[in-house]
Amino acid sequence: MKGQSLKTFVNGIWRDHPIFSMILGICSALAVSNKVENAIAMGAGVTFVLLATGLLISLLRKLIPSRVRMITYMVVIATFVIIVDRVLKAAVPDISRALGPYVGLIITNCIIMGRAEAFYVQNRLGQSLIDAFSNGLSYTYTLVIVAVVRELLGFGTILNFRVMPQGFTNWVVMAMAPGAFFVLAVFIWISRSIAGMEE
């Protein structure tokens, strides 16, 4: 049992890494990775929704009729995302404003849908929660790595602290969408080489 948990965790964080192995959640990884603070907040939001979805889907897995399982995931995910959005707006309006429309975009994050279909609907609660946590962690650390590179080159800062010398010319392309494609592609290439994955 303990070995199984460890395996689930390592799979989520490395072997079946959602971004470089399964190429899921790329859309939001491209969109919110231009500043480290956005990346952290988005990672936290996605991790919470993953955990909540994993909890509910794995508890209901024997009840969900297989023909409507996709709709079920969608409704469950949408509900939790709306709850996160409302709670953030009420409790921490400043962070909510910084995230803007991205909280709503968690609904379309394929990692959550993908994990629900591949894992939570077939596995018990404990394993599902471990899987949700490790996938959320993978997503967050990937976003933060990409964001560190993009914020450093695009703005000369990290977490809004000036790192580069004053004369540094900001690489505007890094702050824009194409910069995300470059950095993410390099990240996927390096991690796949390390993991020894071949086509």
Binding site: V87, G100, P101, V172, A175
Partner: protein, 194 residues
């Protein structure tokens, strides 16, 4: 047949439970969110009018320094200094931009502009919301409309520097401001005379 009925029952039950959860969350958070938004608007009005305040005494400072008025159903806010503030809203590049404009007593120059809500690209278009950008609107004359020029080229007293990488958002922003100024200033001016 039985499995079909089960399917419908499952969807109905799950849907009702989740809807109930959403209604509960909404009814609990809506008043708090509305209060946050009202507070945010007041804070923004105080900032535009350049009235100093602390995070905890926004309500008191607002009540003591700002008079809420209406001209032809357009709400506006008059400060003791004679400055007038009013809200603007319009479509940005990606989403609505809303905020407060403050003008001087003679209705000729801008004294402050704040943004309450915008959804422009973080790090690019969103830079229209940075204090350094908004500060250049101060003391600009708006009678002939504000004009956006290439970064670092502003000379005349109605010209505003654009931002590299945020051209479309800056264009949209100037247009919203010009529309709001042209529409609301004459009405408010009329209202103040009466």
């Amino acid at each position: 047949m039985k499995s079909r009925i089960m399917m419908i029952v499952f969807i109905l039950v799950l849907g009702s439970i989740l809807t109930a959860a959403l209604v509960a969350v909404a009814s609990y958070t809506t008043p708090i969110i509305q209060r946050n938004e009202a507070l945010e608007t007041r804070k923004s009005i105080l900032e535009a009018l350049e009235i100093p305040f602390g995070e905890d005494d926004i309500e008191e400072v607002f009540a003591g320094n700002v008079q809420e008025k209406k001209a032809d159903s357009i709400p506006y806010y008059a400060a003791r200094s004679g400055d007038i503030a009013f809200a603007y809203a319009g479509p940005g590049l990606w989403g609505p931009i809303e905020g407060i404009i403050a003008v001087g007593p003679g209705f000729e120059t801008l004294t402050g502009i704040t943004i309450i809500r915008q959804e422009e690209t973080p790090g690019l278009g969103s830079r229209i919301g940075e204090p350094a950008y908004l500060d250049q609107f101060k003391a600009r004359r708006f009678a002939d409309g504000l004009r956006l020029v290439a970064p670092g080229r502003s000379q005349a007293d109605n010209e505003i520097d654009s931002i590299t990488g945020a051209t479309l958002s800056a264009n949209a922003f100037i247009e919203i401001l010009n529309d709001a100024l042209a529409q609301k200033v004459p009405v408010i001016q009329q209202g103040e005379l009466q």
